[in-house]
Assembly symmetry: C2
Homo-oligomer: 424 residues x 2
């Protein structure tokens, strides 16, 4: 018998290589919000955020092809594309965030951001939430509870309880915000007591991996006050919420209404080309660049900068942030109108939406959510799951997602829910 | 007065961003071994190893453009390109190195390799040489003496004296090899005594950043025996010597004649597209993948795999490894025939060559080497410097470098040397 693709993968890539779906999809082509598998079957992509302006957007492809044919070198020589990009990027950010380092991945960006906090404060201690993922390097994985680090969590890391929509830390939004800040204050005190000191708190301003609970604007204000008093930095990992996905704001921290000291970027930044960035204020950049002679061979090369510039162009010219806002609002309203005994809440912002499933006894309906994702895949729609209990259906499509795409998703989901009344 | 490019760079990228040359070159176009600056001036590229098969090679550009227009997604879905690539890549390696993880940079690759050693051994301690660079992540920079880490070197890292051509550790090659192994044994004992244990020794099998001293085949045999006895892993950072640059072998470890447990790859792998890889044996891969749920969003995506495959195709079809061997031998012979009071030694392999300059009193002629690099740049040839004292002219061009290119380089250097007799 001939070797299957899965067997060949295990032979060449090893065991435990993560895949999506019980029977992983073998994709061969993509265009806009659509993907095709090897058998010619078409899928609506309601999951992938990396192809931010749509799979294989011709404008981005052309920018990559043109620049790759012209010059691809590194930043030890001068080139204008990286400068044009950083100028465009920082113009979308306030709070004095005017300088950037371009890297190749969100993980590299977060790895730099942690060191910026350490260089700027002279302290070592870092805080993250207890249900998150910030990347795959050794240092960043020490904050990433979804993939615990090799060797365990080190002494300079503290994790605080993540906010949750359905199991709130406290009663009112104000009480929740206060409780979150109190936990951060406690973590800072522990870091200071153990001699690590406090360098910074890295968080996703949408708490995306935490299941993006519905949080009021200003939720982080008490936490930010605690961090400022302690002299630490706020590192906003905008890899997931950034670049307009949330519809009503270009950045997650803008929507939540706080001022980060460092912003990190990755996945959607160049529509799939390996590009990331760290943006910060000149004072912090100077501290980092004085402490460490950072150079990234591929980071900010002319092709990467061209791909990132073209992605910004398409975002603007096709009005994709407004599309995320409008189609997102329509989709959220339709998700909220769905009725199913296990559907506890539909929530989110722009084109980052979720539907959380809970059993009548209040326990998370994880298996049910998993069957929904599998059911949607069998009906030609790609989605995923998220949250502490992986019981929230995650909808995070490319931004050109249309009302018709949204309707197809909701109607398929509605039909599936009607046939999946009782969890097996 | 309008802002210069350098000023704009400092405004947007911050201070201390590394550049080459007293007056950095503003490049706008590349083709083969040639680069053009914004004024239209042409440079012979005798330095850059990232454009391994030549700047903007049409075959690689076309592969990137075609795949970017077809599909670019991640390894949670299935795709054949990454499997085709890993199969081709591992076929060039022996020693049971049959499985790989694709990442985006050599730094990411080395960051994974360190954790593989830790996962496979259950120990934490790492060893590197005292004059090297393995990458820019937090964990990898802890081995990188050229850019010391923020916070200093941690307790689990030990550095051993790098071999040097002109200031040998001992007399005969055998004595040097024994001394090197003894230093490694001492470092292992220290790591074990302090409770860190010994996980692995990461080294460049060409000792490229160390100034690539001339070492006999088998130089590392005593060291390898010490490492094997201690149960640690040998991590070969092939980012610089790999993919045939050394001419007489496809890999640096092959040329030196030892069997690594993990091989890491980066810069030249996809001719400038951000791609890296970690190759290892199935037992080590299983240990790593059991200990840590590694996923890299951009790593091994279809475009990256296509770029890496096309680079291998060009290497083979254009016979570039043989070209590195033949042109490299010609160039080395001509460098060795140069006469100048400060020229102490020309050395290297394939198209990775150097000329070391030393004052009559035996002190390194660092400033002289720097002036040579600047002089060559003014005459339209890009080179660099390397070694502990940065007194070795580094010649490491794209592999399509021809005999004519080599002659132009040597003749320009000869003329420059004749006019630069006395160091200022």
């Amino acid at each position: 018998m001939s070797e299957t693709l899965i067997e060949r993968r295990a032979r060449l890539m090893g065991p435990n290589v993560p895949t999506f779906h019980a029977e992983p999809v073998h994709l061969v082509r993509g265009e806009g919000v659509w993907l095709w598998d090897a058998s010619g079957r078409r899928y609506l992509d309601a999951y992938n955020n990396v192809p931010h302006v749509g799979h294989c957007h011709p404008r981005v492809v052309e920018a990559i092809a043109r620049q790759a044919a012209t010059l691809n070198t590194h930043t030890r020589y001068l080139h204008t594309a990286i400068l044009d990009y950083i100028e465009r990027l920082t113009a979308t950010l306030g709070h004095g965030l005017s300088q950037a380092i371009m890297v190749c991945t969100g993980s590299e960006a977060n790895d730099v951001a942690l060191r910026m906090a350490q260089a700027a404060t002279g302290a070592r201690g870092l805080i993250a939430t207890d249900n998150t993922y910030h990347g795959n390097t050794s240092a960043v994985s020490q904050l990433s509870t979804r993939r615990p680090p090799i060797g365990g969590y080190p002494a300079h890391v503290r994790l605080v309880p993540a906010p949750e929509s359905l199991t709130p830390l406290g009663g009112s939004p104000e009480a929740q915000a206060t409780a979150f800040a109190a936990n951060v204050a406690r973590a800072i005190a522990e870091l200071e007591d153990t001699g690590q000191g406090f360098a910074g708190f890295m968080l996703c301003p949408f708490f995306a991996n935490e299941g993006f609970p519905t949080l009021p604007r200003g939720f982080l204000d008490p936490t930010v006050a605690v961090i400022r008093r302690a002299g630490g930095l706020i590192l906003a990992d905008e890899v997931q919420p950034g670049f307009g996905r949330l519809g009503d704001a270009f950045w997650g921290h803008e929507r939540l209404g706080f001022a980060p000291d460092v912003v990190t970027l990755g996945k959607p930044m160049a529509n799939g080309h390996p590009v990331g960035a760290v943006v910060t204020r000149p004072d912090i950049m100077a501290d980092f660049r004085t402490a460490f002679g950072y150079f990234n061979t591929f980071g900010g090369n002319p092709v990467s900068a061209a791909a990132a510039l073209a992605t910004l162009d398409v975002l603007e010219e096709e009005g994709l942030v407004a599309n995320a806002r409008d189609v997102g609002a329509h989709l959220l309203a339709r998700l909220r109108a769905l009725r199913h005994p296990l559907l506890a809440e539909a929530r989110g912002a722009g084109l980052f939406l979720g539907a959380e499933f809970v059993h009548p006894d209040g326990s998370p309906a994880t298996g049910f959510a998993e069957r929904l994702v599998e059911g949607l895949r069998l009906r030609g729609i790609l989605t995923g799951r998220i949250g502490r209990y992986m019981n929230t259906l995650k909808i995070r499509p490319p931004l050109p997602f249309s009302r018709e795409n949204a309707d197809l998703l909701v109607e398929t989901l509605d039909d599936l829910l009607a046939r999946t009344e009782e969890p097996a």
